[in-house]
């Protein structure tokens, strides 16, 4: 063997890249120097020797490169192998550690599963709405154009006149198309079995703008005889959605060219749209070609009926802002030409996505934030518990440190352990989320945009995995930091006596608990605010009595009920039939059920100056039967209800609500006044014959909206809702009413039969779901925070057991010990509550749009939440404090 002095260990690898370089240079230099020396010894001159050695060696620079790249490759491979073997060791160790404390691990996994599961479920719901692109090619170029005005809001339908001008003037769009802004109900089939479906009218270019091609047949072309939704010019062709094809034609392959009867008129099927296609017109089964020419020719409707939706595909150079500018310029021009129609009416260009997502964004963002807060509480809770466990495992870490594990290694091991817990929690969380979604899917379906498909898909799973990873790191960070900064060696030395927590780790735990309480307070307050809003909404006086009322709504097919006389005859015959049923007290009918009257009409008061640059006021509009007010117990304030005098040939009459009377006839002279309904200046005048109490039409609005009622005999419509009050057992009456209505004319399908209360409650469903979830989150947060408080007091009491023993031996009484413990923990709880108040400010800002009749900074809610939190904190602290005061001095002192 050669010289062994200064030998390094065999196998030693260069540990850094610079070292690789140095070792290679040294080795080559050594070789060259030796060779030169040898050549000189053999009699060569130094320069010649150097040249010779260099020539023999070959390209030195290239050699260095070769050798270094080999060295670097080796080093990287080795490091990777080390990392993995360490990771596997830590993983095995973490699993063993978790199994050694099964109860702790189970609780930790459960906590994380709740946190991750809640987030996963909410994310799965929010993703299709907030993140997923719409299912159209290059959907980011698609926009929807609305009209906007102070009266009609930001998402008003366009008039045919304005839409036409925009389409003529526009340069920034490659294609635009119009459609009826709201789908209409249609009757599919004939007397053999008619059903209600949704249909809409779209311009031939509609599908091209969206970039959607039919799977069978074709869509519309300009040659297809086009009609309008008013059926005065019925179209004889139709395109089906995939679902309608399945439902109404059993998916027949030869459907194209066959006829389907819609509204009593046979229409030829041109094509079938791809499965899952939903357009901006909403949830629709049948499409019909739209022709706006008749509307453009109508001198009144052309500029006054806001019934059109417009979509456009922006050209490459067009931006949202330039599209907005372009359309606004058209609107401004129109306002100059026709101020009486277009004053104050602008345009609103919106990404189609945003237009289709609608109002669900706000609640979803709140829910996402809340779920994140719950997870944060769970994390901090677990982090505190792990911190205590690190202290309990000090000996183990001391030993590992003594046999050569660096602090970094120990910290890494702790992180791996928390990742193991998080991973298990994540898996359980996904299972929980799947369970939650199975329950929530049906409820959510009615409140989410119709294109949203809620599922635990790939993207969601990826997000959950990332969240789980983040959770593991977050949970493990604090304990890992504690071990990395502490001195594990010392732990080995001093562990012979006591295991009193260090002040720093005690502070850390306290701060964690304070943070949990702060987050929890924010959540409980938001749940409280939303809960109060819902309560206010559902208990605020509605202005009518819905209890025990049975309703049945029918849609009359246009072909067989095209005259007002036919509709009135149907109405009277069915009302008579219902009145004759045993157990029925009273029957009324209306074109729309209370709450959710959607029709608005502009009106003009006779004798007051016309137009003058002012746009006409608007009022809600519904047609009712004579008994309507009595049946719903809507009080008559003045005048008379409808009666036989208001027949079809009599001068038109109208009943208005108190709010409208107050607003437009402040002098109290509404009775006897005459108004013109609708945009047509030649429309007949209606005389106000009665004033009735206000009905809250929109649950989320407090002020009474102006409302007009006309007699169903004077203005019959194709949709009719019957309202039936029975003497007893309204539930039993429901099927009886349903059968009676259906029996009268099988060709007029029953759209729905239900208790009015149920219908009203459904109207609040989209409000109720977020509240229910928030209350759930609040309760979960409260539970987690309570566990945190309990754990803090428990570890505090255990840590100071010895001290308490001494104090008691010296004569301190139980109350003094309890006060000591409570003071120490109480400070952190108070800190948390104070910090939580700051969090409430942020929450209140997020929630402001979702509240109803509640101040975002409602002191009662805040106070109640703080009280609730304090109470659960006190409750959680009782067992540990009790334990602290029960310390037997002798036992405590001996235990050491």
């Amino acid at each position: 063997m050669t010289d062994q002095r200064g030998a390094r260990r065999w196998f030693r690898l260069p540990s850094s890249l610079s070292r690789v370089h140095r070792e290679v240079s040294d080795e080559i230099a050594f070789h060259l120097d030796n060779r030169v020396g040898e050549l000189i010894e053999a009699g060569m001159g130094p320069d010649e020797a150097r040249a010779q050695a260099s020539r023999e060696f070959g390209d030195v620079g290239a050699a260095c490169e070769d050798l270094e790249s080999i060295g670097r490759r080796r080093m990287r491979r080795e490091r990777r192998a080390n990392w993995w073997s360490d990771f596997r060791r830590d993983l095995a160790f973490g699993l063993r550690a978790a199994l050694r404390a099964p109860l702790f691990s189970l609780l930790a996994i459960l906590t994380l599963a709740l946190g991750i599961g809640a987030n996963a479920a909410i994310f799965a719901v929010a993703k299709p709405v907030l993140l997923d692109p719409l299912p159209y090619p290059a959907q980011e170029r698609l926009v929807r154009v609305y009209a906007r005005s102070p009266e009609g809001g930001e998402r008003w339908g366009l008039t045919a006149g304005m839409a036409d001008e925009i389409m003529r003037a526009q340069r920034g769009f490659t294609a635009m198309a119009l459609f009826a802004a709201h789908p209409s109900e249609i009757v599919v089939g004939d007397a053999g079995g008619a059903r209600v479906a949704n249909g809409t009218w779209v311009q031939p270019g509609y599908f091209d703008v969206l970039g959607v091609a039919p799977t069978i047949g074709r869509t519309f072309t300009a040659e297809d005889f086009p009609g309008g939704p008013l059926e005065d010019l019925p179209s004889v062709v139709t395109v089906l959605t995939h679902a309608a094809w399945q439902r109404y034609a059993a998916g027949a392959r030869d459907i194209v060219g066959r006829d389907i009867v819609v509204n009593g008129i046979p229409r030829t099927v041109l094509g079938v749209l791809p499965r899952g296609f939903v357009g901006p017109s909403g949830d629709v089964d049948f499409y019909f070609p739209l022709n706006i020419a008749p509307t453009l020719a109508d001198p009144v409707r052309v500029r006054r009926s806001h019934w059109l939706g417009m979509i456009g595909r922006m050209a490459g150079s067009t931006t949202l802002a330039s599209a907005q500018q372009e359309t606004a310029a058209v609107a401004a021009q129109l306002a100059q030409r026709h101020p009486e129609d277009f004053k104050d009416i602008g345009t609103q260009v919106m990404p189609l996505r945003e237009a289709m997502v609608g109002d669900t964004r706000g609640p979803l963002v709140v829910l996402l934030a809340s779920a994140a807060l719950v997870l944060l509480i769970a994390c901090s809770n677990l982090s505190g518990a792990l911190l205590s466990r690190v202290l309990a495992r000090r000996k183990e870490f001391g030993v590992r440190s003594a046999i050569g594990a660096g602090r970094g290694r120990l910290a890494r091991q702790l992180l791996t352990e928390s990742l193991v817990l998080a991973g298990a929690g994540g898996i359980a969380g996904v299972a929980l989320a799947a369970l939650l979604l199975a329950f929530a899917r049906d409820i959510a379906a009615t409140t989410l945009p119709y294109f949203a498909d809620v599922a635990l898909d790939g993207g969601t799973m990826l997000a959950i995995m990332l969240l789980t990873l983040l959770t593991g790191l977050l949970v493990g960070a604090l304990p890992a930091l504690a071990i990395a900064r502490g001195d594990p060696q010392r732990a080995l030395g001093d562990s012979t006596r006591g295991s009193s927590e260090s002040p720093r780790s005690r502070r850390l735990r306290g701060a964690l608990v304070a943070g949990q309480i702060a987050l929890c307070l924010s959540l409980v307050v938001s749940a409280g605010l939303l809960g109060r809003s819902l309560w206010n909404m559902s208990t605020a006086p509605s202005g009518f009595d819905s209890s025990g009322l049975v309703t049945a709504t029918v849609k009359l097919p246009y072909a067989s009920y095209s005259t007002p006389q036919a509709v009135v005859a149907y109405h009277e015959a069915v009302s008579e039939r219902l009145r004759a049923l045993p157990g029925v007290d009273a029957v009324a009918s209306a074109t729309e059920l209370p709450r959710g009257v959607g029709n608005q009409n502009s009106f003009v008061i006779d004798g007051r100056p016309w137009g003058a640059g002012e746009s006409d006021p608007w009022a809600l509009w519904t047609n009712v039967s004579d008994e309507y007010f009595a049946l719903l117990r809507i009080p008559l304030r003045a005048g008379r209800p409808f009666d036989a005098r208001d027949h079809a040939d009599a001068p038109p009459t109208i009943i208005i609500n108190e709010g409208m009377a107050r607003r437009f006839w402040p002098a109290g002279d509404a009775l006897g006044a005459r108004i013109r309904i609708g945009p047509d200046r030649e429309a007949p005048l209606h005389e106000v014959i009665g004033i009735v109490g206000d009905v809250r039409n929109d649950a989320a609005r407090t002020e009474a909206q102006a409302m007009t009622y006309a007699s169903i005999r004077q203005s019959p419509e194709g949709v009719l809702s019957f309202l039936v009050r029975g003497r007893s057992d309204p539930q039993g009456l429901l099927p009886v009413v349903e059968r009676a209505v259906a029996a009268h004319d099988p060709g007029a399908p029953l759209r729905r039969a239900a208790m009015l209360d149920a219908v009203l409650s459904e109207g609040l469903a989209d409000r109720r779901l977020p509240v229910m979830l928030m209350v759930g989150f609040g309760a979960l947060a409260l539970l987690l925070a309570s566990v945190g408080v309990y754990a803090m007091f428990a570890s505090m009491a255990t840590a100071r057991q010895h001290e308490f023993g001494v104090r008691m031996a010296l004569g301190a009484n139980r109350a003094a010990i309890a006060a000591l413990v409570l003071r120490q923990g109480g400070i952190w709880m108070a800190t948390g509550l104070a910090a939580g108040c700051a969090g409430v400010v942020a929450i209140a800002w997020l929630l402001r749009d979702l509240l109803f009749e509640v101040d975002p900074f409602d002191p009662a809610t805040l106070l109640a939440a703080m009280l609730l939190l304090t109470m659960s904190g006190v409750l959680a602290s009782l067992p540990p404090v009790r334990r602290a005061t029960r310390v037997d001095p002798a036992v405590a002192l001996h235990a050491q």
């Binding site: 010289d3 062994q4 030998a7 390094r8 070792e23 120097d33 030796n34 290239a62 050699a63 080999i70």
Partner: protein, 110 residues
Amino acid sequence: MAREELQLVQGTLDILVLKSLSWGPRHGYGIARWIRDTTDAALQVEDRALYVSLHRMEERGWLECEWHTTENNRTAKYYRMTNEGRQQLVVKTETWSRYADAVFKILQTA
């Protein structure tokens, strides 16, 4: 063409290097000198190729290395054969002998 020659030399070189280490650890310069002395400088081995061969075999685990101080107080990198390297030497020697025998037999049949 040149690349292929280098490859051929290198394969052969591995055996020569392993053989030179069968008597104990040596540094790279020592191996180069041993090859030159043993073959009476008949084989022209470029030193660069030698070092690449050494580092490759180290990477494969046939050799391991350590740094020693030499007689004239310089540190040098010494290579030593591992058990795997020893097996490789046996295998390669056998392959090489069979190959040489075969070539030799063909040449003798003239």
